[in-house]
């Protein structure tokens, strides 16, 4: 089951449809993030991983939703696999991230997860559990 899921071509039309459906909200949020990094401390993964910037909520949003919109949905499975790592492994969606401007970071991460899931890209805890640690 896993092989068919990971080898199937990406349905770009579906990705574009999903991106279009939330475009106004996501684009507004992306454009109003002033990259101040004040959200960093609100993420426990950032705090417990030597304050590595890749765990910052804003970094995760820019690298996932930001890139999806930048590429206008023209992405391949390799790209979605990268996003999978960002939005599942580097974020547990605990909703504790705080943005001084008011950007709804969890909504954006959840949206990126939705786009990945629409293409069958999501963590397979049962099969990969032994090979890859998610925590």
């Amino acid at each position: 089951m896993s092989d068919t899921r990971t080898c199937a071509p990406v349905d770009k039309l579906e990705i574009k449809r999903l991106l279009r459906a939330r475009k106004s909200m996501m684009k507004l949020y992306l454009s109003h993030c002033v990259r101040c990094s004040l959200c960093a401390e609100s993420c426990f993964l950032f705090m417990t991983n030597d304050q590595d910037p890749k765990y910052m909520p804003s970094y995760k949003v820019i690298q996932s939703v930001g890139k999806l919109y930048k590429k206008r949905g023209n992405v391949d499975r390799v790209f979605l696999e990268k996003i999978k790592k960002i939005v599942w492994k580097n974020c547990v969606l605990c909703r504790r991230c705080y943005c001084p401007i008011g950007v709804d970071i969890p909504a954006m991460i959840a949206f990126a997860r939705g786009v990945c899931r629409s293409q069958g890209v999501y963590p397979d805890f049962d099969e990969q559990g032994a090979a890859e640690s998610w925590l």
């Binding site: 109003h32 993030c33 401007i101």
Partner: protein, 228 residues
């Protein structure tokens, strides 16, 4: 060219600024809707019976305790310097150009009405304060790893657009370099900043209030009666 930039272009810039902000506001309210009852969290109401009278000293100490807890959990406690600089920067960003003597005398000459003005020396000091805060942001963006990791071209653009009118204004006031050229640059850069506010990252000027006051959420100030 110079006459156009000093004359009609100023009004065009102000027009785009105000119409752009109004349009963004309209867009926000069109994109969001009123929170329905389903999404309304019902908090337990205080009992309707006779309330126990609390002494004001108890109420005040309870207030202080809550305020301290909130402070400790906020960005004010985690980044006191950054927040302090940000607040000073944003206050001066508004106060300086609006109440600057030179701007208000021009306004009075032009339409016969001007706002109250700050003393020249204070205006100069506030400009320096804005530039110093800008220097702090610049150093932060260049040398703090986590900020550098998320900085893109649009951030440098917003940074430049915001500070360029202040740099050129400071140079023009002190008449360093060729006064006419610097003044022309100051006017053009100020107009560019005004025009770009509603359509760029600088739009957080108005969207900060939309996001934090109107949208429902855990971190919203006030009621937050709208949702996407």
């Amino acid at each position: 060219m110079v006459d156009f930039v000093r004359g009609p272009m100023v009004w065009i810039a102000f027009g785009v600024f105000f119409v752009g902000l109004a349009w963004q506001g309209f867009r926000f309210f069109k994109l969001t809707r009123k929170k329905s009852l389903v999404h309304t969290q019902v908090w337990p109401q205080a009992s309707s019976g006779r309330k126990k009278k609390t002494r004001w000293i108890e109420a005040f100490s309870a207030f202080l305790e809550t305020a301290e807890k909130k402070y400790r959990a906020s960005v004010f406690a985690t980044h006191p310097i950054m927040i302090g600089v940000t607040v000073v920067f944003h206050v001066c960003l508004f106060v300086t150009p609006i109440f600057l003597l030179a701007h208000n005398s021009m306004l009075e000459n032009s339409i016969g009405f001007g706002l109250p003005s700050l003393p020249e020396a204070l205006g100069d000091f506030l400009t320096l304060l804005v530039l110093s805060c800008g220097l702090f942001f610049l150093l932060r963006r260049l040398f703090v790893r986590r900020v550098r990791a998320i900085t893109g071209w649009s951030d440098w653009g917003a940074f430049g657009l915001t500070l360029a009118p202040f740099v050129s204004g400071f140079l023009a006031y002190h008449q360093w370099f060729d006064y006419r050229t610097v003044l022309f640059a100051h006017i053009v850069l100020g107009e560019l900043m005004l025009i770009s506010i509603p359509f760029t990252k600088l739009g957080h000027m108005i969207f900060f209030f939309f996001y934090r006051f109107f949208l429902a959420g855990e971190y919203s100030f006030g009621q937050g009666r709208r949702m996407w």
